[in-house]
C-alpha cells in the first residue's frame, strides 16, 4: 500500500512538473497600448496620434449637431427607431432631458476621448527623444488647441452645468467648473497653445486644415477659435483682437477655414450628417420656420430643399430636407470665415461701432444674393439682424441654440406642439454627477 501511494505521488509530481511549467502572457494581440506610446514614441507614432485626434473629432458629430439643431428649432431628426429625437430633445409633453441618454452621453464622451488622446500626445511628445524641441512644441500646441476646442463643444451642451477641465489622471479627475470658469480655462489653453506655436516646427500632416497646416496657419486657426470663445465671454474687444490673428477677412471667401473631412478609405468615416434628399424613415428636416422667415432671394434657401412629399412624425411635419451636407464625403466645418465675419459684426455692434457692423452684415447679405441692410441702425436692431444672418449662414453647423441662449432669446423659439419645451442646457451625464 505504501508503495502504491509513493508511486502515485511521484507520478503526480512528474505530471505537474512536465505540464504546468509554462506560464503564458500573450500581451495585447490586437492593438498598440497607451503605455507603449508613453515610453519613447517615434515621430511616426506621434503622427498617428495627431491623425487619430483629427479623425476622432468627427466621432458622434451628428448627435452634437442634432442636439443643437433640434433644441434650437433649426430642424427635426425623424427616426423610425429612435423616438427620443422628437420627444426628449423637443420636450414633448412631460419628457425631459436625461443624463443617462445617448444625446448627451455619446457626444460628451466622444469629445473627452479626443481630449484624452491629446493628453497622451502631449505626454508622448514630452517623453520622446526622437524629435526636436521645436517639433515638440508643434505637437503640444496642436494638442492644446484641439483640447480647448473639444472642451468648448461640451460646454456648449451643458452650459451652466459646467465641464471638467483637469482630466489628465482618470483615477483623480479634477472638479466640474462652472460656465464662466470653463470659458476662462479654454481661453487660457488656447493662449498657451499659441505660445507653443511661436517657436514650433510642424512635423505632422493634417487632413482638413487646408492652408492652415503649418505653424503660422495653426495660429490662425487657434485665434479663430479664440475669437468664438471671446464672443461667448462677451469680451468684444478681445474678439476683434483674436480675429486679427486669425484667417478672418471681409473679402476672403466665406468657406475659407478648417474642416472635418470624410472619406471612404479603410478605417475612415463617412459624413454622418449626410442623408440623401427625399428619404423616408430616417430623415433630417428643416424646421418650417426656416423657409417661412427667410427673405426673398436669399440663396440660403438651398440649404433646405423642398421634398417630393412632406414627412411627418409624432405631430411634427416639414416639407424641406436639411441639405447642408450634400454628399457622404462632404466636409463639416470646424470654423470658417463666414462665422468670423459674423463675429466681426457682432463685436463691432456690441462696441457700438455700428457702421462697421453694418458693413460686415452687408458682406454676408450681398454674398447670399440680398441687398444691403436697410433697417434701423441701432444696436438692438443690428443684433437682431446679426442673429438672423447667423441663423441662415451657420444653419446646422451647431450655433443657433447657443446664439439664442447667449441673448436670452430661447423663449422666442417656436413651439410646435402644446407641451413642448426649449431646454437651456443638457444635464451632465450620470457618470459625472
Amino acid at each position: 500500500m505504501q508503495k502504491i501511494i509513493t508511486i502515485s505521488i511521484i507520478m503526480l509530481l512528474c505530471m505537474i512538473l512536465f505540464f504546468t511549467s509554462c506560464k503564458k502572457d500573450y500581451g495585447n494581440l490586437n492593438n498598440a497600448t497607451v503605455e507603449s506610446f508613453l515610453k519613447d514614441a517615434s515621430q511616426s507614432e506621434l503622427n498617428n496620434l495627431v491623425s487619430g485626434t483629427e479623425s476622432g473629432m468627427r466621432n458622434v458629430l451628428n448627435l452634437y449637431l442634432d442636439d443643437i439643431g433640434s433644441i434650437g428649432r433649426e430642424g427635426y431628426h425623424f427616426s423610425g427607431s429612435e423616438p427620443r429625437y422628437v420627444t426628449d430633445l423637443l420636450g414633448a409633453s412631460n419628457a425631459t432631458l436625461s443624463g443617462s441618454n445617448f444625446y448627451i452621453v455619446n457626444p460628451w464622451a466622444a469629445r473627452y476621448r479626443v481630449i484624452k488622446n491629446c493628453n497622451v500626445l502631449i505626454q508622448a511628445a514630452t517623453n520622446s527623444t526622437h524629435i526636436t524641441a521645436a517639433q515638440k512644441s508643434g505637437y503640444i500646441g496642436f494638442a492644446r488647441t484641439i483640447k480647448a476646442y473639444q472642451l468648448l463643444m461640451n460646454l456648449n451642451l451643458t452650459d451652466s452645468n459646467g465641464i471638467r477641465i483637469d482630466v489628465s489622471d482618470p483615477d483623480h479627475l479634477g472638479p466640474i467648473v462652472n460656465y464662466s470658469d470653463g470659458l476662462t480655462s479654454i481661453a487660457s489653453l488656447l493662449d498657451s497653445a499659441k505660445a507653443d506655436f511661436s517657436n514650433a516646427s510642424i512635423a505632422f500632416t493634417l487632413a482638413g486644415f487646408n492652408n492652415f497646416s503649418d505653424a503660422a496657419g495653426l495660429v490662425k486657426f487657434n485665434r479663430a477659435i479664440a475669437a468664438r470663445v471671446s464672443v461667448y465671454q462677451q469680451k468684444w474687444q478681445g474678439a476683434l483682437d483674436n480675429l486679427s490673428g486669425s484667417f478672418f477677412g471681409l473679402n476672403t471667401g466665406f468657406n475659407v477655414g478648417v474642416y472635418h473631412v470624410f472619406g471612404t478609405g479603410s478605417g475612415d468615416q463617412l459624413n454622418p450628417m449626410f442623408i440623401p434628399q427625399n428619404q423616408t424613415g430616417e430623415v433630417r428636416l428643416a424646421h418650417p420656420s426656416y423657409a417661412a422667415d427667410i427673405e426673398a432671394g436669399d440663396d440660403r434657401i438651398n440649404k433646405a430643399t423642398l421634398r417630393n412629399a412632406a414627412a411627418s412624425l409624432s405631430g411634427l411635419s416639414s416639407n424641406r430636407d436639411v441639405w447642408v451636407y450634400t454628399s457622404a464625403t462632404a466636409p463639416i466645418p470646424v470654423i470658417r470665415n463666414e462665422e468670423l465675419i459674423l463675429i466681426y459684426a457682432e463685436a463691432n455692434i456690441q462696441l457700438n461701432n455700428l457702421n462697421e457692423g453694418v458693413k460686415a452684415i452687408n458682406v454676408i447679405r450681398n454674398g447670399h444674393g440680398l441687398a444691403d441692410y436697410s433697417g434701423a441702425v441701432t444696436q438692438s436692431a443690428l443684433i437682431t439682424e446679426m442673429l438672423k444672418q447667423r441663423r441662415y449662414s451657420l444653419f446646422f453647423e451647431g450655433h443657433r441654440w447657443i446664439d439664442m441662449r447667449r441673448y436670452n432669446l430661447l423663449n422666442t423659439l417656436p413651439l410646435d406642439r402644446p407641451g413642448d419645451d426649449v431646454w437651456t442646457e443638457f444635464p451632465l451625464p450620470v457618470t459625472e454627477q
Partner: protein, 982 residues
C-alpha cells in the same frame, strides 16, 4: 509541449503492461428482464475492478468470460443497479427493478470520478436522451434544454433560425463577465462564443460607428451540437458541484455524454421527421380608416394626401397585412437520422449521420445542420481502455435582419411604421418601390438581403483509462482525457445597392471569417482503496490545461458592384481583426470517502492560473467539500415507509477569469483621408484585474417512499460571488467610457424542490411524472462605484441598475412622479415544470413538458415602436383616463413614466408534447420495431405579455436579457416522426 505528452504516454505504457496480463477462465451467461419479464435491451454487465463489460442483446441476453470469483455489476438506465456474485453458478436470471427516484443513476462528481445519486452531496440535474429529444425535438440543441433544468433561467434571444439561447444557472453569476455555463462534451470543453456578423454597420444599433455590437443577434455556437447523439446531460449548477472545473465553472457546467457503441448485435436506427414551423403569435395590425390614415400627419397637405392614398388603396383592394406577409411564412422542416451501434467485446462503435433542413417563418431564412459522429471504444486488455469521440458538423443559418437599430432598416422597425395602405410590392419587373413610411421597404429587404452564418466544425475527444495497479483492496488508474474543438465560421452579410436604405452606401457586403481552436486535457490518477465493506476511499489528483485561440476577420465592403458580394468587388473596403488567446492551467486533488455505504465525504482543492488574469503567474485556490448522510443505509430508519432518506451538504468555490484584453488600454485605428490614425480606446485597461470568485453552499434532503415510487429532492443554496467582474461606466470625462472592475459582491439564494413519481403502475398503463419548482433571489451586497443605469436604453424606457442592497436584475425607470423607482426585475419569482410520460400497453406513449415561469419583467419596446409608428393593433382603443387613443396615451408617458414599457413576462407554456406508437410485431424479421409519432413544440403559451414572445433578448446572452426590440418572432412547430430499428 507535444513531445512531452508523447513521452509521458509512452512511459505510462511501459509501467502498465506488466500488471495488465490477467487470466480469464470462466464464461457466464444470463438474461436481464424487467418487472413484467420483458427483456431489458442494452443493460451493461460489467466486471468489478476491470474494464471488461458487455451489454445485453435484443432478448436481454448476455455472455461474458470472467475471472474466477469475479463480481458482476448489472446496470441499465432507469433501473436500479444489481451486484451479483459469480461463485455459485454460471447462468443468471437478473430481474431489474425500476429506479423511479433515480437513486442509482451515476453522476460525475470529479474530473475523473463519479458517484451514484444515492450518495451524492449535491443536487445535480440530469436530462436523459428521452427527456432531451424524444418528446418533441427542438431545432437546435440549446433550444432542447428549455424548461428542463430545475434551477436554471433559460431564455431564447429571439426566434431566429439557428438558436441563440441564454442559460443562467442559479441566478446571475456575473454582471459583465461570462454568465453562461461551460459545456463539456465527452471531456472536451466546447466553445460557445457568439460571433457577430457585423450587422451594426447597417443597423447602427450601437450608435458609435462600431462594426459589431452585442445587438447583432448571433447564434450561440453550442447550437451546433445534435441532440440525437446525446445519451445524457448532467448539470452542475454551482461551485459546490463544479469547483473541480475551477476557473471556467462559475456559470456552472453542463456535462454532455454522447452515445457509445454497445457490444453485441449491431443495432441500426433510422428516423425521419417532417415538420412545419409557424409564428407562435402575430400581434395584428391597426385597422385603418380614411380619418385615421389622415391623422398620421399633422401637416394639412400631407394629411390630405394620406387620406387620398388610403381611399385609393382601399378602392383597389390594396390594403395589406404586412405583418402576415413578413412573418406568416410556414417553414418546412425535415430531419433525417441514421445511427449505428455495435461491436465486439473489445471494440465498440457508434456512428451517426444526421441531416436537418428547416425553413423559417420569414422567407429566405432557415437552418441546416449536417453532423457525422464516430465514437469508438477499444479495450486493449483488461487494464487499458481507449475511447475516441469524433464529430464533424456543418451548420448554416440564415437569420434575417432583426432587432434594435438606429437606421430604420431592420424588418421589425420598418414594419412598425408601415401602415396597411402603403404599397410595398414589386412591379412587373421585380423592382420594389421605396417605403414612404420607413427608411427601408421590409419586403424588399427580406427578398434581397442575406445574413448567413455557416460553420465547419470538428470536435474530437480521447479518453484513456489505464489500470496501473490492482489487488483485492486497491485499484489505481490513470485517466487521461482531452480533445480539441476547432471551427471555421463564415458570416456572410449582403445588402445589395438596390435596397432602399443603401442609397448612401450603394450596397454593403460584410464577410467575416473566424477560426477558433480550443483544446483541453485532464491527466489524473485515481486510487480506489476498499479495505473493507464498510469503507472505501477514492483519491484522485491531476493536472488540467485549457487553451483558446480565436481569430476573427471582418471585411466590410461598400459601393459594391451590382450582383457581386466578394469584398474586392467594391468601391470601398474596411477591415477589422480581433484575436483572443488564453491558457489556463490547473492542479487538483480530491478525496472521497464512503463509510458503510451511508456516509460519503468529499474534499478537494484546485489551484488555477490564467493568462487573462492581471497576474498571470498567480495560482488561485478553489476548495470544495461535501457530505451526504444516508439515514436508511445507515440503519437509523428501517426500510418501510421510507425507501431512502439522505441528508446532504456541499461547499465549493469556483471562478470566472476576466475577459481577454481587460488588462490593456488599447489604441484603436481611426484613419483620416489616408493618414493612419490612432485614438485611445473607449475601454480603459485594468492591469490588476482579478478573477471573480464564487462560493457556494448547498444543503438538501432527498427521500423516497412507497418502494421508491415517489421521490423528493429538496435543496437550498447560497451562492456568493465576490469581486464580480463588471464593465463599469467610467466618468466619460476621463476619456474612457468603460473599465473592467472587480466591482463588488453579489449573492444568490434559492430553493429547488423536485418530485419524481409513478402514480400509475399497472400491467397496461404506466405514468411517470416529475414536477420541479425552483426560485432564486439575488442581492448586491457590495458595490464600490456609484450606480448608473445600464444594459438597456436608460430610465426613460426602463433600465437595469446594479445597486448595493438591491436585486442584481432590478429594472428601474421613471415612475411618473418625477422620480426613478424600481418597476420590475428580470428574475422570475419562481419557475415550475412537469415532465410526464404515460405508456399504454408498452406500445403507445404520450409525453409532455409543461413549463411555468411566474413573475419577472421585460422591457417591451416592440409595442412602443408600433405605437410610435402608428401601427399598433390597439392604437385606437380608448381605455385611459384622458380619453385619447391608447397609443397616444402611452406615447405621452415617454419621458415621465416608464411603467408602460416594463411588463410582466410570466408565461405558462406547453413546451413539448408528443404521442408515439411502437410496432414490434412486424411481418419482416429484419426490422425489430417501427415507431411513429406526432409532436408539437411551443404550441400553447398563456401569457399577458404584449409582444411576440416573453422570451426575448435584444442584447444576446449576457446579463441584460429580456429587452424586447422587434426580434425575429418566436415560432412553434409540429412534427411527424417515423423511426425504424433494425
Amino acid at each position: 509541449m507535444r513531445q512531452r505528452l508523447i513521452f509521458v504516454t509512452g512511459w505510462l505504457f511501459i509501467i502498465i503492461i506488466p500488471v495488465s496480463l490477467l487470466a480469464q477462465n470462466k464464461t457466464v451467461t444470463g438474461q436481464v428482464t424487467e418487472r413484467n419479464n420483458l427483456p431489458v435491451v442494452g443493460a451493461t454487465i460489467a466486471v468489478k475492478n476491470s474494464t471488461r463489460a458487455i451489454v445485453s442483446d435484443a432478448n436481454g441476453k448476455f455472455k461474458l468470460s470472467i475471472p474466477d470469483n469475479a463480481v458482476l455489476i448489472i446496470s441499465a438506465a432507469g433501473y436500479k443497479t444489481q451486484t451479483i456474485n459469480t461463485e455459485a453458478t454460471t447462468d443468471f436470471q437478473v430481474k431489474l427493478q425500476e429506479d423511479v427516484s433515480k437513486l442509482d443513476e451515476v453522476v460525475v462528481t470529479g474530473l475523473s470520478t463519479s458517484i451514484k445519486r444515492r450518495n451524492l452531496a449535491n443536487a445535480v440535474a440530469t436530462i436523459s436522451a428521452k427527456e432531451l429529444d424524444a418528446t418533441s425535438p427542438a431545432q437546435t440543441f440549446d433550444a432542447a434544454l428549455e424548461g428542463k433544468i430545475p434551477g436554471a433561467y433559460i431564455n431564447a434571444n429571439s426566434g431566429a433560425p439557428g438558436g441563440g439561447i441564454s442559460v443562467k444557472l442559479r441566478g446571475v453569476t456575473s454582471v459583465y463577465g461570462n454568465t453562461q455555463p461551460l459545456y463539456v462534451v465527452d471531456g472536451v470543453f466546447v466553445d460557445n462564443t457568439s460571433t457577430s456578423a457585423g450587422l451594426n454597420v447597417v443597423t447602427s444599433a450601437l450608435a458609435n460607428g462600431a462594426t459589431t455590437s452585442n445587438q447583432d443577434n448571433p447564434s450561440s455556437r453550442i447550437a451546433d451540437l445534435r441532440a440525437e447523439d446525446i445519451e445524457n446531460i448532467e448539470i452542475l449548477k454551482g461551485a459546490s458541484a463544479a469547483a473541480v472545473y475551477g476557473s471556467k465553472a462559475a456559470g456552472g457546467v453542463v456535462i454532455i455524454t454522447t452515445k457509445r457503441g454497445k457490444a453485441g448485435k449491431t443495432n441500426i436506427t433510422f428516423s425521419q421527421d417532417i415538420g412545419f414551423i409557424k409564428a407562435s403569435k402575430l400581434l395584428g395590425v391597426r385597422a385603418l380608416t380614411a380619418d385615421r390614415a389622415a391623422s398620421l400627419s399633422r401637416d394639412s397637405a400631407t394629411s390630405a394626401a394620406l387620406r387620398q392614398q388610403f381611399t385609393d388603396a382601399q378602392s383597389k383592394g390594396q390594403i395589406y397585412d404586412y405583418e402576415k406577409e413578413l412573418y406568416g411564412n410556414t417553414g418546412f422542416a425535415r430531419n433525417t437520422f441514421l445511427g449505428v451501434s455495435g461491436g465486439s467485446d473489445n471494440t465498440t462503435v457508434y456512428f451517426s449521420v444526421a441531416l436537418k433542413a428547416e425553413g423559417g417563418i420569414v422567407k429566405r431564412t432557415g437552418y441546416n445542420n449536417t453532423s457525422i459522429r464516430l465514437n469508438v471504444d477499444h479495450r486493449v486488455n483488461d487494464n487499458i481502455k481507449i475511447g475516441i469521440s469524433t464529430n464533424y458538423i456543418n451548420s448554416s443559418a440564415d437569420r434575417g435582419l432583426f432587432g434594435n437599430d438606429n437606421a430604420g432598416v431592420t424588418t421589425g422597425i420598418a414594419l412598425s411604421s408601415t401602415p396597411s395602405f402603403a404599397q410595398l410590392h414589386p412591379d412587373a419587373n421585380g423592382n420594389y418601390p421605396n417605403d414612404p413610411f420607413a427608411a427601408s421597404n421590409p419586403l424588399q429587404t427580406v427578398a434581397l438581403m442575406r445574413n448567413n452564418e455557416s460553420v465547419n466544425r470538428f470536435i474530437t475527444g480521447a479518453n484513456l483509462e489505464v489500470i496501473l495497479q490492482k489487488n483485492s483492496t486497491s485499484t489505481t488508474k490513470f485517466i487521461g482525457r482531452g480533445g480539441f474543438d476547432f471551427y471555421n465560421l463564415q458570416t456572410s452579410v449582403l445588402f445589395p445597392g438596390t435596397l432602399q436604405f443603401q442609397a448612401v452606401n450603394k450596397g454593403t457586403s460584410i464577410q467575416g471569417f473566424t477560426k477558433n481552436l480550443s483544446t483541453n486535457y485532464i491527466l489524473s490518477l485515481v486510487n480506489t482503496f476498499t479495505p473493507s465493506d464498510k469503507l472505501s476511499l477514492i483519491t484522485s489528483g491531476g493536472i488540467t490545461q485549457e487553451t483558446g485561440d480565436y481569430n476573427n476577420l471582418l471585411n466590410i465592403a461598400t459601393q459594391i458592384i451590382a450582383g457581386q458580394s466578394n469584398v474586392d468587388q467594391a468601391g470601398a473596403l474596411n477591415a477589422t481583426q480581433l484575436r483572443t488567446k488564453f491558457l489556463n492551467g490547473g492542479i487538483f486533488i480530491q478525496e472521497e470517502a464512503n463509510l458503510i455505504d451511508a456516509i460519503t465525504l468529499t474534499a478537494g482543492v484546485r489551484f488555477d492560473r490564467s493568462s487573462n488574469n492581471g497576474d498571470v503567474g498567480k495560482y488561485y485556490t478553489y476548495p470544495k467539500a461535501g457530505i451526504s448522510w444516508n439515514l436508511t443505509n445507515m440503519g437509523i430508519l428501517k426500510g418501510g415507509f421510507f425507501e431512502n432518506i439522505k441528508l446532504r451538504a456541499a461547499y465549493g468555490q469556483a471562478n470566472n477569469v476576466p475577459a481577454y484584453g481587460s488588462k490593456f488600454t488599447s489604441m484603436v485605428v481611426s484613419n483620416i483621408t489616408g493618414f493612419p490614425g490612432l485614438i485611445v480606446n473607449t475601454q480603459e485597461g485594468h492591469a490588476n484585474i482579478k478573477p471573480e470568485r464564487q462560493t457556494e453552499f448547498e444543503t438538501g434532503l432527498d427521500f423516497s417512499i412507497l418502494k421508491g415510487r415517489l421521490g423528493f429532492e429538496l435543496t437550498y443554496y447560497n451562492k456568493n460571488i465576490d469581486d464580480f467582474l463588471m464593465l463599469t461606466n467610467s466618468p466619460a470625462s476621463s476619456g474612457y467610457s468603460t473599465k473592467w472592475l472587480n466591482a463588488g459582491n453579489l449573492r444568490n439564494r434559492g430553493v429547488e424542490l423536485g418530485m419524481n413519481a409513478r402514480p400509475i403502475q399497472s400491467k397496461n398503463i404506466t405514468w411517470n411524472t416529475s414536477v420541479n419548482f425552483w426560485t432564486n433571489r439575488s442581492l448586491v451586497t457590495k458595490f464600490i462605484i456609484p450606480p448608473v443605469p445600464q444594459g438597456s436604453f436608460g430610465f426613460v424606457l426602463g433600465s437595469f441598475q446594479i445597486q448595493q442592497g438591491k436585486s442584481a436584475t432590478q429594472i428601474l425607470g421613471l415612475d411618473g412622479t418625477g422620480g426613478v423607482s424600481k418597476l420590475g426585475d428580470a428574475e422570475p419569482k419562481f419557475q415550475m415544470n412537469t415532465y410526464n410520460e404515460i405508456t399504454f400497453f408498452n406500445k403507445l406513449s404520450l409525453r409532455f413538458l409543461l413549463h411555468w415561469k411566474y413573475g419577472g419583467q421585460n422591457v417591451n419596446l416592440t409595442s412602443l415602436e408600433n405605437d410610435f409608428g402608428g401601427t399598433s393593433p390597439d392604437y385606437d382603443k380608448v381605455t385611459n383616463k384622458l380619453g385619447v387613443p391608447d397609443a397616444v396615451y402611452r406615447l405621452m408617458q415617454i419621458g415621465s413614466d416608464a411603467h408602460e414599457f416594463v411588463q410582466s413576462s410570466s408565461y405558462l407554456r406547453l413546451r413539448e408534447i408528443g404521442l408515439y406508437y411502437t410496432f414490434t410485431k412486424l411481418p419482416v424479421s429484419y426490422i425489430k420495431s417501427i415507431q411513429v409519432g406526432v409532436s408539437f413544440n411551443n404550441y400553447v403559451t398563456i401569457t399577458k405579455y404584449h409582444s411576440y414572445d416573453p422570451e426575448v433578448s435584444n442584447f444576446g446572452t449576457g446579463f441584460s436579457s429580456g429587452i424586447d426590440v422587434d426580434p425575429y418572432p418566436a415560432s412553434k412547430r409540429a412534427n411527424f416522426h417515423v423511426s425504424f430499428d433494425f
